[in-house]
């Protein structure tokens, strides 16, 4: 029996709403024939993203993963270095550290799923070079505390802002606190391309120039390779689409905040923890995650009545097979491990109506009433 039909994401609604404009963008870009690497669309988007994030520079790249990778690389992170980061992120956050020959050092998280600043300080060793906080779900980490800590210890800060474009702490945007802010524009993000895309925001113009070389084979111009680079260019097509959608981002965020606020008002139950918003934070709700008892059962029940949910992420990184060589064990990060068994991501996208949100909240509560 399927009572409802509430999808987790609704890319079809976005396509229906925007298709004429998207088709016009395809046509415009393609007729000009400049499809890769640089050009007007890339420069325009970079300028607008920098302006939006409140940084001097933004560098358009192929993905959020590549944004983290190149930011760490230009921050000088390499073999033997340690980077402190939480274990409850998407795998890409940790993989880029390993790919640079550095060592990810995990620290546990707070009740709101974000990195615990007190635990960071305890994990600092003489080999620590950087901190990579993750603004999970669109909620800002305590960047004020983290930056103070980083300055005291002379560490670089690379913000994993893949899920937090537009989020703020004390009126300041995510990605503008650390030395680098790394964003994803994957199709499921609040600012989304029609394929992979990402960017780095920074105030360091020399680092930005270097990333612009590294993203295209290390080439300074067509003939001169200054160092070994990569291919991590944002497609011009995707840049043009993001430029168009950037105008819509405030509306997307406003609707998601409205949906989230309604959830927060409606879902009040002893079996369900909904991390509250702090006074000084502006959360953009890339995802809306609750921490629920009998989570798997709840998810199955919601699915059976036509409500789609997701889990971000069911297996903490330190317990993934790929992380075996790092030497962590179950029990090392009790908060993250406990949350992994309880977290459930409810649909919160901007195409949900108030009635949809009320339906989902009502069914969650009904599940516990039994």
């Amino acid at each position: 029996m399927t009572e409802h039909d509430i999808p987790y994401v609704n890319l079809r609604a976005q396509a229906d709403e925007q298709m004429p404009e998207l088709a016009a963008i395809f046509e415009r870009v393609v007729r000009r024939g400049s499809l890769v690497g640089s050009g007007e669309e890339i420069e325009r988007l970079e300028a607008r993203l920098a302006d939006y994030c409140g940084t001097r520079e933004a560098v358009a790249l192929n993905s959020g993963t590549d944004a983290l990778f190149l930011a760490l690389k230009v921050a000088g992170i390499g073999a033997g270095d340690e980077v402190i980061t939480p274990p409850n992120s998407f795998i890409a956050s940790t993989a880029v550290i390993v790919h640079l020959g550095a060592r990810p050092v995990f620290v546990d998280v707070l009740a709101d799923q974000n990195i615990n600043p007190a635990a960071i300080e305890q994990a600092i060793t003489p080999r620590t070079r950087a901190i990579m906080p993750v603004h999970l779900t669109g909620r800002m980490c305590r960047m004020d505390t983290i930056m103070e800590l980083a300055e005291r210890h002379g560490l670089r800060v690379i913000e994993d802002a893949a899920q937090s474009i537009g989020s703020m702490l004390q009126g300041r945007k995510s990605g503008s606190f650390g030395h680098f802010g790394c964003f994803s524009a994957h199709p499921l993000k609040n600012l989304n391309a029609l394929g992979d895309a990402g960017f780095v925001a920074t105030n360091d113009s020399a680092a930005a120039a270097r990333m612009r070389r590294l993203r295209t084979h290390g080439l300074a111009d067509r003939e001169r390779a200054e160092e070994w680079g990569f291919v991590s260019r944002m497609d011009v097509l995707q840049a043009a689409i993001l430029d168009y959608r950037l105008d819509k981002l405030p509306g997307v965020i406003a609707k998601r905040r409205e949906n989230a606020a309604l959830y927060q008002r409606l879902i009040k139950h002893e079996k369900v923890f909904v991390p509250p918003c702090r006074q000084d934070e502006f959360n953009t709700f890339h995802t809306f995650v609750i921490q629920a008892e009998r989570r798997d059962e709840l998810q199955r029940h919601l699915r059976s009545i036509g409500i789609r949910t997701a889990i971000h992420y069911p297996v903490p990184i330190h317990l993934q097979p790929a992380a075996a060589s790092l030497g962590y064990r179950r029990g090392d990060f009790p908060a993250a491990e406990r949350q992994a068994e309880r977290i459930l991501t409810l649909p919160v996208n901007q195409y949900m109506s108030t009635a949809d949100v009320e339906t989902v909240a009502g069914e969650v509560l009904a599940f516990y009433r039994g």
Binding site: R12, E27, P187, D196, E227, Q320
Partner: protein
């Protein structure tokens, strides 16, 4: 014979290098837009159905069992080496005259590129290959530069004797073949680029790897998508290097034309060969009866090359040089200790080679105009 005069194209040349504005004539753009209008509402943007369809069609086209779509030709090479376990301290043998991405793919895996000079077919000189193999060699990466073919049967004999895996850099050699066997199918794997200026292209960066090995294919599929075996299980540390579904939609549209594109380039090159061979100042690269060269680039060796290049440009022929500074002399390669003069054939070619447009959108008049332009330069 009357002198040919051509009108200026929109980009200010008479024989343009880039054919992209032509690929996107009104009818084609409408056809592709229709496909995109149908695709975008599916929301199937990441490793979706169009990618799987393109991979199947590409594997069939090349004549192998697996094709894996990735973010670029460079990544196709990088991930193939990574899947082989190439890492710090290892050596990979490749051609000295290649595009920097080949070396970049090796360097990205922290391995050392060991370079071998080329012959006048732009490919690795196999007489010098064995001397470059050491106990640290982990793989051989021949480069089918410009659509030429490395002598793969001979190279595979050497590789097999040393029990070394071969990854073919086929980025510029889609549908190039030897005795009917396609580039990319001789070695363990072949990497192709789908960059907008390749013979089969998409509308952004893209690449694809072919292999006949099931296990290797599975490993590559995981490596390109964060090492994920399924949505929640990370079995190895991977990257994000996926061919966008959106780009696969374009690829699926263009793949029907790739035989025509290839045949037309070969025909254009044949015409240029026969006409330019009449000039004593022009020398043609080696051609072979049993090799199908696909002329991603049409390159000849020219006396007074720089002056010829300037002359062509002035006459509106958008000639280029691939590549004026050999990769081993680039700043980025200093760490490997190569010096000018280490690869004399590569050096000599860098000073004499010139690339002329040979793409499928050239008219007979444009081809004749190019011949006229080069002839006038030498004969006044």
């Amino acid at each position: 014979m009357t002198r040919i005069e051509l009108p200026l194209q929109p980009n200010g040349t008479k024989v343009p290098w880039s054919y992209l504005p032509r690929q996107f004539d009104a009818r084609s753009v409408e056809e592709i837009l229709d496909r995109l209008r149908a695709f975008v509402p599916t929301g199937d943007f990441t490793l979706g159905k169009p990618v799987r369809a393109f991979e199947e069609r590409f594997a069939r086209l090349i004549g192998t069992s697996h094709a894996i779509g990735v973010n670029s030709g460079t990544d196709a090479l990088k991930l193939s080496l990574k899947a082989l376990g190439v890492g710090p301290g290892d050596e990979v043998v490749t051609a000295a005259n290649t595009f920097i991405a080949t070396i970049g793919a090796i360097a990205e895996n922290f391995a050392r590129p060991v370079l071998v000079d080329c012959t006048d077919n732009f490919c690795m000189d196999l007489d010098k290959l064995e001397a470059a193999i050491t106990p640290r060699t982990k793989a051989i990466m021949p480069v089918h530069l410009a659509g030429q073919m490395t002598d793969m049967p001979a190279l595979m004999d050497i590789a097999d004797r040393h029990k070394l895996p071969v990854v073919e850099d086929s980025c510029q050699c889609i549908l190039g073949s030897i005795d009917g066997r396609n580039a990319g199918t001789f070695g363990l794997a072949g990497g192709f680029s789908l960059h907008p200026l390749k013979n089969l292209n998409v509308w952004g960066d893209g690449g694809i790897i072919v292999t006949g090995n099931d296990d290797f294919a599975l490993k590559l599929r995981r490596l390109r998508n964060h090492g994920l075996a399924d949505r929640d299980s990370v079995v190895m540390l991977g990257c994000n290097s996926r061919l966008d579904s959106l780009q696969a939609v374009i690829g699926n549209w263009l793949i029907d034309q790739v035989e025509f594109i290839t045949a037309t380039r070969i025909k254009n090159a044949g015409y240029l060969d026969s006409e330019l061979a009449k000039l004593p100042q022009i020398r043609l690269p080696q051609r072979f009866n049993n090799r199908r060269l696909v002329f991603h680039l049409y390159i000849v060796f020219a006396e007074r090359r720089d002056a010829l290049l300037a002359h062509c440009r002035k006459a509106g022929v958008e000639a280029k040089v691939h590549y004026p500074i050999p990769v081993y002399r680039q700043e980025g390669l200093q760490q490997f200790g190569y010096r000018k003069g280490d690869f004399p054939v590569t050096d000599r070619q860098a000073e004499t080679m010139i690339s002329l447009p040979a793409h499928e959108h050239l008219t007979a008049e444009q081809l004749a105009y190019m011949v006229q332009t080069v002839t006038e330069f030498y004969q006044g």
